[in-house]
């Protein structure tokens, strides 16, 4: 069953219900989706899931200009009526000092995204694909005994933004995802695990072989492990790990967090250096590598590429309509939909500043004169990152590279301060890699504290 929403019908119903309730200004975000997914366990289907979901969030402005909001999964007339009533009641508690308005860009042209819509393959086809992938992964090494976390899913979805001034945004999307997380154990040794993820616009387009290869290579590479001595090391972050870290500290670039006083940045930070002078960071939800990109944000503002750091200097913040108004700039397309609108990043692009040295040249972790810690993935970011303080202390999986040989690290944490880290970047290694969270090369950072068990 394909997910569908009828924007014009929804608009008509809302106009009628709002008019009857005496509500003149409103907007809404609606979404529906159809999902199917499978998990397997040693050749057998473990769980097969399907879901039909729908949801709507309605904002209304009362006669005092204050905003209230309500969300519901009930898209019937009765559900919409109740949501309008709830939003109107909530508007009595709207914040007069920070009232959202319609985005001035809610009717501006949208970028054209190349997002082919694929028909779902069906759950039994997904099951066959995943069984085969699991079997191949299990066959890669005798120590790989299970693939305890795995899943193959496909989704058809649609989202809408409407407002009472005539804005109408609509986007349909099909996506598919595959993850394989293997567990390996050799006699007398601790179990080790690693995995890989792939995204595509349809299940047939997924790079299944690449996912198997990556999961196998990463898992096998951790079988031979040793403890690491506690100390300060030059660390090489994988693209995934570095993007995770930047994402966890994205309040640095978030105008909402700045206004709320919980960012390390402040209103005067624009134009100030935040990182080494050869470091660029852009937010670009429109990058073709961003599978499932949104053409517009929760307020209907078009998504666009935005320079956050250029030459290490802070250039722009991420904005909603309200924060942009407070800063006297245009919304950037990074808003949610709420009484207090959240702001968040889309998809990062990280690399050397064009025309700069790009930091130290010719970096190669296998030819480094000193031992290097190569960080493959970070864990527990929700607990180990103190974004408002700038500090982090995070468990990681990775390797100690010395003399051209990489050996997996048994168990360790890496700790530091994000501002110090951004100013301790030595340079980049290799080509930028597309990941689910962004585009990034390997990033070298010196002087990080690593705690091990040796």
């Amino acid at each position: 069953m394909a997910a569908t929403l009828n924007a014009e019908s929804l608009r008509g119903r809302l106009e009628q219900l709002a008019s009857a309730a005496g509500i003149r200004q409103w907007d809404l975000g609606a979404a529906c989706s159809t999902d199917t997914s499978v998990q397997v366990d040693r050749g057998e289907a473990k769980q097969m899931k399907g879901a039909q979901r729908s949801s709507i969030t309605i904002r209304v402005w009362n006669s005092d200009g204050l905003v209230g909001i309500t969300s519901t999964s009930d898209l019937s007339d009765a559900g919409l009526e109740r949501a309008l009533a709830g939003a109107r009641e909530a508007s009595g508690f709207g914040n007069p000092d920070d009232t959202p308005a319609f985005s001035p860009l809610a009717t501006a042209p949208l970028a054209e995204l190349r997002q082919p819509i694929h028909e779902p393959q069906g759950i039994l086809a997904l099951l066959d694909t995943l069984k085969d992938a699991e079997q191949q992964l299990l066959g890669r090494h005798a120590a790989i005994g299970t693939v305890p976390y795995n899943g193959l899913a496909e989704r058809s979805s649609e989202r809408i933004y409407l407002n009472s001034e005539g804005a109408c945004r609509q986007q349909r999307l099909s996506t598919a995802s595959l993850y394989l997380y293997a567990r390996a154990e050799e006699a007398g040794r601790k179990p080790r695990s690693a995995g890989a993820v792939r995204l595509a616009y349809g299940a047939r387009e997924l790079d299944v072989a690449g996912c198997i290869n990556e999961a196998a290579e990463r898992t096998i590479s951790h079988l031979d492990y040793a403890p690491i001595s506690t100390g300060h090391y030059t660390c090489v972050f994988s693209p995934e790990a570095f993007l995770d870290l930047i994402g966890a500290f994205s309040s640095l670039f978030n105008a909402r967090a700045v206004l709320d006083g919980v960012s390390l940045s402040n209103r005067d930070s624009i134009g100030q250096p935040l990182a080494v002078p050869f470091f660029d960071l852009h937010d670009n939800g429109l990058n073709p590598g961003n599978i499932g990109a949104s053409a517009f944000d929760g307020e209907g503002t078009p998504t666009r590429r935005l320079a956050l750091l250029e030459g290490g200097v802070l250039r722009h913040f991420l904005h909603s309509e309200a924060t942009a108004r407070a800063f006297g700039v245009a919304p950037t397309g990074h808003a949610g939909l709420g009484a207090k609108v959240s702001v968040g990043p889309d998809w990062f692009e990280i690399g050397a500043t064009p025309g700069s040295s790009g930091g130290q040249q010719g970096l190669d972790r296998f030819n480094a004169p000193e031992p290097i810690v190569w960080i493959d993935s970070l864990s527990a970011l929700h607990a180990g990152v103190k974004a408002s303080q700038g500090s982090f202390s995070l468990p990681f999986d990775g390797w100690l590279v010395q003399g051209g040989e990489a050996r997996s690290i048994e168990a360790a944490t890496v700790a530091g301060d994000i501002r110090t880290l951004l100013n301790s970047i030595v340079g980049f290694e290799g080509e930028a890699k597309i990941t689910p969270d962004g585009l990034c090369p390997l990033v070298w950072v010196e002087g990080l504290s690593v705690t091990g068990e040796a």
Binding site: R192, A383, Q389, T451
Partner: protein, 468 residues
């Protein structure tokens, strides 16, 4: 919107279940849900967000052998539920009408755990009262805090009505009410910063926000932020650690509790799968998971599979006694159900999950534990944590102090504790006599659920402390 799950649902559900069985399913389960949520945020002296939400939906699960198919939908109409059933059957290669009905005696008499709870939602604070109470909390923060750069209070009220029907006759109805209120501050003085938060939560207590002691909560948060503002970063290494009671219990939750869920046995990701009857922890450790503590965040009258809650002794004097099990866990691992089949909402299939999970009180005083350490770390307040597929766990220390010569000395920050359950559980060598529980949220295979962690003060003889 469905008005309520009354007895009129019985014939519809029986028809649905019978059709599933007739198609060749071994068992069919239907989970119906209505929800009503309210979230309020206060920042400084202003209400900045009021977010009501309501919803409804169904989750249908079909078992055949050890396999199952699960479908969720927002459409509770007869055709919507039939369509969901067809989809779930199709996942297992079954079709309605292709087999003969293999015996269904109808649903048992409804076990109505909701009978006395109809008034709960109406007895909760109205929006005005809730916002006033929250602003009282932020005013208390402003009064007791120093160097506060930002301070906020948040309130969440989650009401849920559920009806569970299964082809084994299970037919049960319940209403749940969870409320939580949290206070957070960010203190800053030059380059020194400290962010501290605490959350109080309850279940089944409509008056809880009214009875919440805003001043005591604010004092606790402000004292902690004041202590941590100028704290140095902890020095990394292998150290003995004393963990405070209440939220210190996150160590057992992450390090061991998850590994005693049958989902982990099914996956082969627990080192304790074949250890029932064997010592897996120090003899000082007795650990319990239960859904019965009055008003606790993880308490429930019945689980999301319609089974009445229980008290389950997991570890007794270091010996592994039981696993936490749900319907699928019993089917696939043989461990009997413990009333622990839980899910965030109808969009998730139930899984074996913790409820109120804690280490039992021991014979010592907290002071005796601290006095037994020459040089170590005292973890007064914990942040969140997680456990990986190899049993390696981690969690953050929000408020820590050095222990030197048996005494608490200076505050330290930035510590992360990591380890493996098999290695750490035998090192919990002392338990104090001051068991207390704390509310929390646990995210796992069946979504984010309300739980309680808890413990008395405990001593871990050695653990890896990540720092700078």
């Amino acid at each position: 919107m469905v008005a309520s799950f009354d007895s009129s649902w019985q014939p519809r559900l029986e028809s649905l279940l019978a059709r599933g069985l007739a198609a060749g399913a071994d068992l069919v389960e239907v989970f119906l849900e209505r929800t009503d949520h309210l979230g309020v945020l206060a920042e400084q002296d202003t209400i900045t967000s009021v977010s009501p939400a309501f919803g409804m939906g169904a989750g249908l699960r079909v078992f055949r052998g050890e396999r199952d198919g699960f479908v969720s939908t927002n459409d509770l109409s007869p055709s919507g539920l039939e369509q969901a059933l067809d989809q779930a059957l199709g996942m297992l290669g079954l079709q309605r009408g292709t087999a003969v009905l293999n015996g269904f005696d109808g649903l048992a008499q409804l076990r109505d755990f909701a009978a006395s709870k109809d008034s709960w939602l109406a007895r909760c604070p109205e929006l005005r009262e809730a916002t006033d109470r929250l602003l009282e909390g932020t005013a208390q923060l402003a009064m007791h805090g120093s160097h506060l750069q930002a301070w906020r209070g948040s309130y969440a009220r989650d009401w849920q009505e559920v009806l569970v029907a299964a082809s084994d006759g299970t037919f049960a109805h319940d209403i749940r009410l969870h409320q939580s209120v949290g206070l957070n501050v960010l203190a800053a003085d030059g380059e020194h910063r400290a962010g501290v938060g605490r959350r109080h939560g309850s279940s089944g207590r409509p008056d809880d926000l009214r009875q919440w002691d805003a001043e005591a909560s604010a004092r606790e948060v402000c004292e902690s932020s004041g202590a941590m503002l100028y704290a140095d970063y902890v020095e990394a290494g292998q150290l003995p650690v004393v963990l405070a009671n209440r939220f210190g219990g996150v160590i057992f939750h992450e390090a061991c509790g998850h590994l005693l869920e049958t989902t982990q046995v099914e996956r082969g990701t627990t080192p304790f799968a074949d250890k029932v009857g064997e010592a897996i922890a120090h003899e000082a450790v007795t650990a319990i998971d239960e859904g019965l503590s009055d008003g606790a965040f993880g308490s429930l009258c019945m689980d999301d599979e319609g089974m009445e809650a229980q008290r389950t002794v997991l570890i007794e004097n270091g010996i592994l006694k039981r696993f936490i099990s749900d319907r699928a866990g019993e089917l696939r691992t043989g461990h009997a159900r413990t009333g622990s089949g839980r899910r965030q909402s109808h969009t998730f299939a139930a899984a074996s999950r913790m409820r109120n999970t804690y280490i039992a009180a021991g014979p010592h005083t907290p002071e005796q534990l601290i006095a037994s350490v020459d040089r170590g770390l005292y973890c007064k307040s914990m942040g969140g944590g997680s456990v990986g597929p190899t049993g390696q766990f981690n969690f953050a220390v929000e408020e820590g102090y050095l222990i030197e010569n048996g005494q608490l000395t200076k505050p330290v920050k930035g510590a992360t504790l990591i380890g493996e359950a098999k290695e750490v559980m035998p090192r919990i060598s002392m338990c104090a006599n001051d068991l207390e529980l704390a509310a929390g949220f646990c995210g796992s295979v069946s979504g984010s659920i309300f739980v309680t962690v808890g413990q008395p003060h405990i001593k871990v003889d050695s653990i890896t402390v990540g720092g700078r």
